[in-house]
Symmetry: C2
Subunit: 355 residues, 2 copies
């Protein structure tokens, strides 16, 4: 006898990128930041008193929320702290979308979205992106006419790296009948001045997702946050999130990390520089990619992409291959340090020479 709900039985779970345990593997498959977290993180861990773990943690991570509100020149009521961006995505669905109500996404998009929609038993409305990974003009109309309750948009886009301009975000928020969740997991690697948090003051259907996983080199910490009008934050904060969703030590580490913008910005700058170099060097090998505002490149492969993925894996270099319509001739490659990127480049060069 199976006790699973029918929608859970029918669905597949999220498949995360492989996490090899050995020390020699070059991991360019899950968009982790190649630079270490802030020295303030180290200090926060060193100064932590283990006996403090005896007690329940602050239930809403008030200190972290205050620091983050200040960073974005917003109020603490505009912020919810979550266990990675994943928890925010789940909470937004749980709080605002009834089972059976449609959730809107682009195609392609972050592969977790359909999984989360499946758990809530919500159908997807998918709109294909243009050839340049931009949004078609009828995007908002399609969402509205399908009765979409929540639109999930990752910007900069994954897996292409393309960035929608702020003006488009504004227009979308105005046009959409639904909540617009703007997933800014990669926003820290955008080169231009790009300040979206202030938009939540005018757009009360906009929720912005941020994470410390990429920009703050803390994928292992599971810490993110949402930015929105207080009426959207409040039910998630007081009703639908787990009572104590963030442990005490994580809160301290996240407070340290968000307070050290200088260290984080240094890593963003280094990633941006290496992104340009890697893109140019890959192009010389016949592997082109669209302009990326993230810490990864979506690279066209001059040979069978899955083969190239496997041959890199043989050499202990992990990149990401998606067996999906518009992606199966491409590889998604995370930008590493200079030395890591050099190792990747010479491996690709050798493999291509053998064809």
């Amino acid at each position: 006898m199976s006790y699973e709900r029918e929608n859970i039985k029918q669905m597949s779970g999220y498949s995360s990128g492989e996490q090899p345990e050995d020390g020699n593997t070059l991991k360019l498959n899950t968009n982790e930041n190649p630079y270490p977290p802030s020295a303030m993180v180290t200090r926060a861990i060193q100064q932590f008193k283990p006996t403090e773990l005896r007690r329940y943690p602050p239930p809403t991570a008030a200190t972290f929320r205050q620091l983050t509100a200040k960073l974005h020149k917003l109020d603490v009521d505009n912020i919810i702290a979550t266990r990675g961006g994943d928890e925010l995505l789940r909470l937004v669905i749980t709080t605002f979308v009834d089972p059976g109500e449609p959730i809107g996404v682009t195609d392609p998009t972050y592969s977790l979205y359909p999984v989360l929609a499946g758990i809530q038993d919500c159908p997807l409305v998918e709109v294909g992106l243009l050839d340049d990974w931009g949004l078609p003009d009828n995007f908002a109309d399609t969402m509205n006419s399908n009765g979409v309750k929540l639109t999930l948009l990752v910007n900069p886009h994954a897996p292409s790296g393309a960035l929608l301009p702020i003006q488009t975000i504004r227009e979308l928020a105005n046009q959409l009948d639904s909540i617009l969740l703007l997933d800014e997991a990669y926003i820290d690697f955008v080169e231009e001045d790009f300040d979206t948090p202030s938009l939540v003051q005018d757009h009360h259907n906009l929720i912005i997702l941020r994470t410390l996983s990429k920009g703050y080199s803390l994928a292992g910490l599971r810490f993110g946050y949402g930015i929105a009008a207080p009426q959207l934050i409040e039910p998630m904060l007081t009703k639908t999130k787990d009572s104590y969703n963030l442990d005490l030590l994580s809160q301290r580490i996240a407070e340290a990390a968000i307070s050290d913008q200088v260290s984080a910005e240094r890593s963003w700058q280094l990633v941006i520089e290496e992104r340009h170099r890697l893109q140019a060097e890959l192009a010389k090998l016949g592997m082109t990619s669209p302009a990326s505002q993230t810490n990864f490149l979506l690279v066209s492969s001059p040979v069978d992409a899955e083969q190239l993925y496997l041959r890199l894996k043989d050499r202990q270099i992990m990149v990401r291959y998606f067996a999906l319509p518009r992606l199966r001739d491409k590889l998604r490659i995370t930008v590493g340090t200079k030395a890591e990127n050099d190792r990747l480049l010479s491996a690709i060069s050798e493999i291509l020479d053998s064809y």
Copy 2:
């Protein structure tokens, strides 16, 4: 305009016990363990390399699950690691109960259960406990005849501290058509030999909840686990939990804590000894309580219980008062250290003398 789902709009969130920030308050209101966590926890934090946080953590906490499986003489497929017991409760509902399907509980019970049922939009079937806090004979029949999909049972019971015998658990698991979730948050403080994990081998509708919050002095860590047949564990592990639900540092700390049974057992023994002493001393003051197998006592108050709660609070002593039918003449008091219990006892003695 409100975007909240109707069921979320209608519900109230969980109210956790107060968490005063000052150092002088005696916290006997949230059932935390009064003794510090294992020295192995301290070592795990000291030995942790912050650069490891750069990468995503092991997605299923495999090492912790292996250690825990070994502890309970079960297989790793019988275990899921979760962010506190709370996450397990949520996952069980999300995975196995459709919106609209009833969830069964006792009355009174852990006050989080109705909140979680509300989030999933599930009605509650409540069965009142007997005067001695035992289950009425028709409990399973009532659940079955109401089409209950999931029965939530906290054992030892909160807030009474009463323990149902293993034989009753076996019978319930046999009789119930639903999944039986046995919330063993307080199991470590049971005096008799009480080994339920092995029951999951025969009872494929049984899920046991354990937490490191109480027994391992790690409420601030948010780490718990579920024990069940693999067919119940698997969909939660691979489909419905957040992709990386447990951060790396928490996993290391939990592995250290679960490996040091000696230290944990020492705290359990001390709590049990103090529980007996506190119960006897309170009885001398006219405040009786039923036998408790937990780290708290449900104490009858000879004066207005809410008044007593408030007057203790004036003296910076926090205990828990529930304004509920069978509880409003009682206080739930966490067992502290000897010194803490002495401070409580003399405060109560002084307050009662003033009546």
